[in-house]
């Protein structure tokens, strides 16, 4: 088949929900995915997965950067087997000295399922206020915002929480998520979560600390089990069956590891594998889309490189771009460079690539007095919304709130303990260990005694103030392995972001002090303090093609269709006008289900 109802570019959180819904409704769908197909083990049956519980495969041996002209040329870097080799496809960001630095930050994963293959699975909803930060802040007092940027730049989403809520339920049900809804400060029309597994006992300290924090802040909000995209019972929607012992799902080979058992609800096992044999569905893996061609307001041809690098094309009635914000923006810009009609329409205002967003994030970490087996854990055990409610935001003069949760699987395995020592991100792995030559012999034992199975961290995830100057462009000189310009990321933190991160890091620190006692070793901090703070994205790459109700103020209309195109949609995180006070994946999935309903109405 070469003519489809819909072509979807990308098989992750923004694309797979649409494919699932449209194929089940009888529409013909082609998914083009740049990465390989790595399936979970067959179930039932004997077989193997290309994902392994293997730290060397998941974080990679060292490679040497070879991109003349960037500040870190010659530096070592590490990438998992499903992230790009940044010698082949770097992201470049403008560093604080005005030079260029290559980074692996901002890539999720290039594989069927995209970033949902490697993520920790935290699947929180955004709050009602997260979707209306302009109206929420209109008459509020905001600290550390000298130019009133928040009030000028905040945007309400084109949809309300109430409009999105049924799609949250749909996503939670079809993806397969465990957690609890009680104590979450968001309205739930239904609770379709699988029951959570028992928390790792080390998390009790975090639970106690969160309870006390709620009391100290006067909200008395209790913690809840954070929703995690890991099934804990049979999941009929995807045909997945739970192993005899559900606790075997609990392994610290989770965050940044693909799951060989398919219990982590990546979009392949949850949404695409169930439709893979349908005659109206096709997925072409190892195929890189290079440009879209338009005639008037119709995108009428999608060009891609096949697995051997030969250019091919396919056509469809509707086209959905969902290859993660930075790469989607890049694809739209490269398409515009090759086609003046496309260019005029996508650049109908100067907003494409602008208001690029990630999250304000950070937290605190401490050492607990006893040791626990952290190798049996999922990514997070307890969460609290006590820092997301209006009374807290008013007391601190903050424009938006944050979800706070404890990380359980971090530094649980011995290699990861050393690899991430003192490292703040994927670009600085190993530096803390290799830079400390005294950490050897007996000192190494002392370090293990003090840290192995004893580290507990608490993180926050918060909205970043949208800024026009935070943007994605095409790099003027650096090219990928195909000779195409790579993405160029320019961003900085707003004054209020720094203030917000300080406040939230203090709350995380307080959680640990509450849980561990005032004398316990606890340290807090936020990402803006890091040397490479400008690159950091937590793999939450959002904005750059925001949706809205005003064509002069947005790139996409309320249905995520590009203004001035009839059939071009963008459904990864780039549609977000604000980044939400929680991890974004579930909201990307819910919105994609919403857009799927709209597309069904057109086909």
């Amino acid at each position: 088949m070469s003519q489809f109802d819909v072509i979807i570019i990308g098989s992750g959180a923004g694309g797979a929900p649409i494919a699932n819904k449209l194929v089940k409704a009888g529409k013909s769908v082609l998914v083009l995915e740049k990465g390989p197909m790595i399936d979970a083990q067959p179930q039932p049956g004997v077989g193997q997965s290309g994902f392994k519980r293997d730290e060397l495969l998941a974080d990679g041996p060292e490679k040497k950067l070879n991109i003349p002209g960037v500040s870190n040329n010659g530096a070592g870097y590490y990438h998992s087997h499903v992230e790009p080799d940044i010698n082949d496809e770097p992201h470049i960001y403008l560093n604080k000295n005005g030079g260029d630095t290559a980074t692996i930050e901002g890539y999720t994963a290039q594989v069927v399922g995209g970033g949902t293959q490697l993520y920790g699975g935290v699947s929180l909803r955004f709050t009602e206020n997260d979707l209306r930060l302009k109206s929420f802040n209109e008459s509020r007092v905001i600290q550390n915002d000298d130019n009133d940027d928040v009030k000028r730049e905040a945007r309400d989403w084109a949809i309300s929480y109430a409009q999105l809520e049924p799609y949250y339920v749909e996503a939670e049900s079809k993806v397969g998520i465990n957690g609890t809804s009680a104590n979450q400060q968001k309205p739930f029309s239904q609770d379709v979560y699988h029951p959570p597994l028992n928390p790792n006992p080390i998390s009790q300290f975090a639970f106690n600390g969160m309870v006390t924090l709620g009391q100290q802040l006067g909200t008395n909000i209790q913690p809840y089990r954070p929703p995690l995209a890991v099934i804990t019972q049979n999941h009929p929607a995807s045909g997945r069956i739970m192993p005899a012992d559900p606790e075997s799902a609990k392994t610290s080979y989770v965050n940044r590891f693909g799951d060989p058992l398919g219990l982590k609800s990546n979009t392949w096992v949850s949404l695409l594998r169930p439709i893979k044999d349908d005659s109206n569905f096709e997925i072409r893996c190892n195929c890189t889309v290079t440009r879209l061609k338009a005639s008037a307001d119709q995108v009428n041809e999608v060009f891609y490189l096949d697995p051997a690098g030969i250019e091919r094309s396919a056509t469809s009635t509707l086209v959905v771009v969902a290859c993660s914000a930075i790469e989607s923006i890049r694809l739209l810009m490269l398409s515009a460079d090759a086609d003046s009609n496309f260019s005029q329409r996508i650049h109908q205002n100067d907003l494409l690539g602008k208001y690029f967003l990630t999250h304000c994030f950070g937290g605190a970490s401490g050492i607990v007095p006893e040791r626990f087996d952290k190798s049996k854990a999922l990514d997070a055990d307890w969460a609290t919304d006590t820092c997301a409610v209006t009374s807290f935001l008013d007391s601190q003069g903050l424009w938006a709130g944050a979800a706070i949760y404890n990380n359980t699987s971090d530094q649980a395995l011995p290699v990861s303990l050393f690899r991430t020592l003192g490292a703040q991100d994927l670009d600085t792995l190993w530096n803390g260990f290799t830079g400390n030559a005294g950490l050897r012999g007996d000192n190494l034992i002392n370090y293990l005694d003090g840290n192995f199975g004893r580290g507990l961290s608490v993180s926050f995830m918060a909205n970043q103030v949208p800024q026009f100057t935070n943007r994605i462009e095409l790099h003027p000189s650096v090219k990928d392995k195909w000779g195409r310009p790579v993405a160029y990321i320019k961003k900085d933190w707003h004054q209020h972001d720094r203030y917000l991160m300080d406040v939230m890091a203090q709350q995380c620190t307080q959680v640990l002090r509450n849980g561990l006692g005032n004398g316990a070793p606890v340290s807090g901090g936020s990402i803006y303090m890091a040397d490479n703070a400008l690159a950091r994205m937590a793999n939450h790459i959002l904005g750059g093609a925001r949706f809205g109700t005003d064509p002069n103020d947005s790139v996409l209309d309320p249905n995520c269709r590009a203004w001035h195109f009839d059939n071009l949609y963008v459904t990864d995180g780039s549609f977000m006008p604000t980044s939400g006070g929680a991890n974004p994946t579930l909201t990307i999935q819910a919105n994609a289900f919403r857009v799927a309903d709209h597309l069904l109405g057109r086909l």
Binding site: P36, L56, T251, A308, L413, F433, T434, G441, G453, W482
Partner: protein, 335 residues
């Protein structure tokens, strides 16, 4: 017995070929991923699935095959064209089953012409000066790139990085190795003579710089020669591997500061950097999956398992629960 040829889907090969080989510009990173060495749970992990890839960029060859020591050395096994959507991709592939713990040399036979593998950076030169492409399988404990004297010096240096040299730890490791049952012996095929009383970190480093981090091999070769020369200069009466501990601790501390008296900085200008690489490799060797050649039988993990227990004597690092059999005990994950 003839080698077993396995039939795999074209997508299996394309999953590696597209990412690493399909390109318009020359590769900047070593293409160590080829031949593809994959696990074989269907064989209880006693063999690997080894896939050779040949990339034709011009006129397609009329005959393409592989010959090597994994089979009868001088008969080429034909490779099959890898297709996408019914069309040729220019990639050719062959998958064979090769026992774990082995080293082999091979060449392609392209239209009758013996040809070194243009993708795989691993090469070996025989005594008769002939050059071959090389691969080795998981759990390999044959030396690949280091000489015996280089192993010896590395072992002494690594002893100062990792905690496996004190008496308690050695006693633990001896008990651990003695206690390995038959089903675990596969993990340590060639025995422990080479691994001394440690967990095989140097064997791991040998494999790592032979393949994934081949870019560090020249650094090791130069620095080990320099260290050997320095040690002999500082103590002309003993072989470096027999010298007292103080010679190595002194050297370690000097390398950590970057200032090593007598070091030939024109041969290698940053001994501290070499130490940094070595320390990272040593830790990886102790705690990575045993198939990479270190952490023999899971000894590094078992050390932590034994060291860290709760008041009831239950371990606080139950590493076997997550891992495949026979190394681990997970009933579902096949490895």
């Amino acid at each position: 017995m003839a080698v077993q040829v396995l039939s795999l889907d074209d997508d299996y090969y394309l999953n590696f070929c597209t990412k690493h080989l399909a390109r318009n510009n020359p590769a900047k990173s070593p293409l160590w991923q080829f031949p593809i060495i994959d696990t074989s749970p269907d064989d209880n992990h006693l063999s690997n699935k080894v896939s050779f890839i040949y990339q034709s960029t011009g006129t397609p060859p009329s005959e393409i095959g592989v010959f090597g020591t994994f089979d009868t050395l001088h008969t080429a096994i034909p490779m099959q064209a890898v297709n996408f959507d019914g069309q040729s991709t220019g990639f050719y592939a062959l998958t064979v089953r090769v026992p774990i713990g082995e080293v082999h040399r091979y060449q392609f036979l392209v239209d009758g012409q013996p040809t070194l593998d243009p993708i795989n950076p691993q090469r070996t030169i025989l005594d008769d000066k002939t050059e071959w492409s090389r691969f080795f399988t998981d759990y390999c404990s044959y030396p690949i790139v280091f000489e015996e004297w280089e192993y010896a010096i590395l072992r002494r240096l690594v002893d100062h990085i990792l905690p496996f040299r004190n008496q308690d730890t050695q006693n633990f490791l001896n008990r651990f190795y003695d206690g390995l049952d038959k089903s675990a012996q596969y993990a340590t095929k060639e025995g422990f003579h080479r691994l001394d009383a440690s967990v095989g970190e140097v064997n791991y480093i040998d494999k790592l710089v032979a393949r994934q981090e081949i870019h560090h091999l020249p650094t090791y070769k130069i620095c080990l020669r320099e260290i050997d020369r320095l040690l002999r200069q500082r103590n002309p009466f003993e072989e470096p591997q027999d010298m007292a501990k103080v010679y190595y601790t002194d050297l370690y501390e000097q390398m950590a500061t970057g200032s090593v008296p007598g070091w030939n900085y024109s041969a290698y200008n940053n001994p501290n950097y070499f130490l940094q690489v070595l320390r990272r490799h040593a830790v990886l060797g102790a705690f990575s999956h045993p198939k990479y050649g270190g952490n023999a039988g899971g000894a590094g993990w078992a050390y932590l398992e034994s060291k860290y227990q709760d008041s009831q004597g239950d371990t606080l690092f139950d590493w076997r629960a997550a891992l495949e059999r026979p190394l681990g005990t997970n009933p579902d994950y096949t490895g």
